[in-house]
Symmetry: C2
Amino acid sequence: MATMQQVADRAGVSIATVSFVVNGTKYVTPKTTARVTAAMRELKFRNNVVARALASRRTRIIALLFPTTGNRFSPTTSEFFMAAAERASERGYHLVLWPVDPAGDDLDDLVSGGLVDGVILMEVRMDDPRVAVLTELQVPFTLIGRTRDSSALPYVDIDFETTIEDSLDHLAALGHRRFGLVLEDLDGTPMAGYAPHQRVQDTFVRSVADRGCTGSIVFADGGSDGGRAAARRLLEVDSDVTAVLVMKDDSSAGLLVGLYAAGRRVPEDVSVLSIASSSANGDQHYPRLSTMVAPGRELGVRAADALIDQLDGTSVELPHFLLPCELRVAESTAVASS
Amino acid sequence: MATMQQVADRAGVSIATVSFVVNGTKYVTPKTTARVTAAMRELKFRNNVVARALASRRTRIIALLFPTTGNRFSPTTSEFFMAAAERASERGYHLVLWPVDPAGDDLDDLVSGGLVDGVILMEVRMDDPRVAVLTELQVPFTLIGRTRDSSALPYVDIDFETTIEDSLDHLAALGHRRFGLVLEDLDGTPMAGYAPHQRVQDTFVRSVADRGCTGSIVFADGGSDGGRAAARRLLEVDSDVTAVLVMKDDSSAGLLVGLYAAGRRVPEDVSVLSIASSSANGDQHYPRLSTMVAPGRELGVRAADALIDQLDGTSVELPHFLLPCELRVAESTAVASS
DNA sequence: CTGAAAGCGCTAACAA
DNA sequence: TTGTTAGCGCTTTCAG
C-alpha cells in the first residue's frame, strides 16, 4: 500500500534513491541503504508492478499460451508448464498460463501494452495463425513445437521423426513387420494441422515403406470407447497387425480392451507402444504399456531458457532444439512379482 | 503501437474523447465516435493494458493460484481451470493460471500493485497460509475449497461429506459392510492438511461407525506401484474388505492389479469406487471403475462468478456453494458387448 | 457533448 | 553518491 514516495520521505531521501536500492540499479551507501530498507519494512512497501511496468516497459512476466480448445491439458503439458515455471522463477521471471483463442484473435489486446515481456506458444499447428500475430505485434516468443517452416523461428520441440524411427527400430528388433498407428483425428477442429500428428504420420508412412513393412493408420475418438473402436477398425484394415503405436493416452486403455476382445493378447500377439506420452501413463494399464516418454520437463526448461535468453539478450543465436522421446520398456516382471 | 494521443490527433479530438469512446465511459456523438474509431482502425490502436491499469486500478485480469508443488495437475483441476477461464471470458475478464509458492511468500509481489483484480485459490489446505496473506493484502479472492473455518470466506467446493455418504449408501445398498479407503499421505509435504483428504477421512470414519460397519484407511504412494502396495496393505489390515474407495487416480490401476494379485476379483469379490475423480478416469481401467465424478466445470464456473460478482459489486452476499460428486456406475455391459 | 489537466507509482536520464 | 524531473499511456474529475 505504501508508495515509493512515502518510503523516501520516511527515510529522508529522494524517491530516486529508493528506486535504486529497490532495483539495485545504482550504488547506494550501505548507510542510506539501511535507512531505506528500514523504512520499506516499516511501511510494508511493495513495489507496484504495474507502475514499474509502465515506466520501464518490462514486467518480468512471461506467458505460456494455451489454446482454449477442448480439454487437451495432458500430463505432458502439465510437465512443460511446471518445469518452465520453475526455470523462469530461477531466472527471476514469473510464468503464467494464459488460455487464448487458437486463432490468436484475443492475443493483441493483452500482449500489446507490455503486460508480458514475451510468450511461449504451445500446441503449435503446421500453419499456426498465432505466429503471424505475434510477429506483427513484435512480441518476443518461442515455440514449443514447430510450424511447417520454422527455420527462422526460435523453437524447442520433440523430435518426432527420431522418436518414430526409434519406435520402429525397437519393434522391428522384436521381429515385427506389420505396424499400426492410432491417433486422434483433428480435422475439422480448430486444432487441425496439429504439428505432432502431422510429423508422426508422415514419418510413420515413410519409414514403414522404407523398411518394406506394412503400416496402417486409424483414427480414434476420445475415451475408452474410441480406443475400442479403433482396435476394431485397425484389425479390419490389417488383421495380421502385430505392433501398434498409440498417440492418444485417453484411449489406450480402450485399445487394449478392444484387442483382447478380438482375441489378441498383449503383448504376446500384439505389441503396443504408447507414443509421446507421460511415463505415468504406461503404468495406468495392465499389462503396463511400453512408452516413448515425452521429455516434458526438459523441453519446458529449454523453452523458458530460450525465451529468457532472448529477453535478456544473453544469447543471440536462434534456438532450435529437438529432443526425441525416450523408450521405456514395460517390465512385466514387476507386475508378476507383486 | 499507436497511443491514444496519436489517435486523438488523427481524429482531431482530445485524448479524453478517445478514452470515452474506447471505454464507453461517456456519451459521444455518433459523428465524433465514427471519426475516432476510424482513426483507431487506421492507426491499429490497441489500448495499453498496463497504462490503463495504472490509471484505473483495474486490469480485468484474475488469477487462479496454483501451488508449485509436485505435479498434482489433475484432469479435474484442468476442468476447473478451463471452465473458470471460459466463464471469466464471458464476463469480460481474463483468467490466468499462476503458479505460486504454497506458503504464499511470493504472492504479495505480484498481487499488490494491482496486476490482477482478484484471485481464486485452489488446492486449499485446512489452515492455508495464503488466505491470511491475501486478506492482509486486501485482494478480493474466492476459494475453490475450504479452510477449517471458512464461514467468513467466499468459497465454492466439493461437498465431500455428502459425497462420502452417497458413496457408502451406494455400496451399502449393494450389501457391503467392510469398507476400505485409499488416499495419499501428504504429511510432511507442503500440502499437509489438504482439506479434501481431511474431510473425506473424517466423514468416512464417522459414517462407517454410524453404520456399524468397519472401515480401514491406508495410504498410497504415487503411481501404479503405490496402488499395488496399498492393496496389499489394505488386505493385511482387513482381508475381508469388500468395498474400497480410492481417492488417488494415478494409483487406482495399481490398486486393481494388487487386488487381482491377491486373488480378489473386481467387482465380484471387491467393489472399487473412485472418489472425486474425473469421469475419464474410470474409463482408463478394465474393468471400468465406478466413479464419484467431481463437478469440475460447474465449480470452475461458480468460482469465476463468485469472484467477478465480488469485483463488479453485482452481488454482496458471501458465496458458499457446495456440490457433491455424482455417482457414475461403470456399465460393464459396454465392455462385454464390444 | 468535448476538452484541459491532474494524477496513477515508478524509472532513468541528467544534474549536482 | 544522491536528487530533480520528465515522462510511461491512460483515466477521470471539473470546466466550458
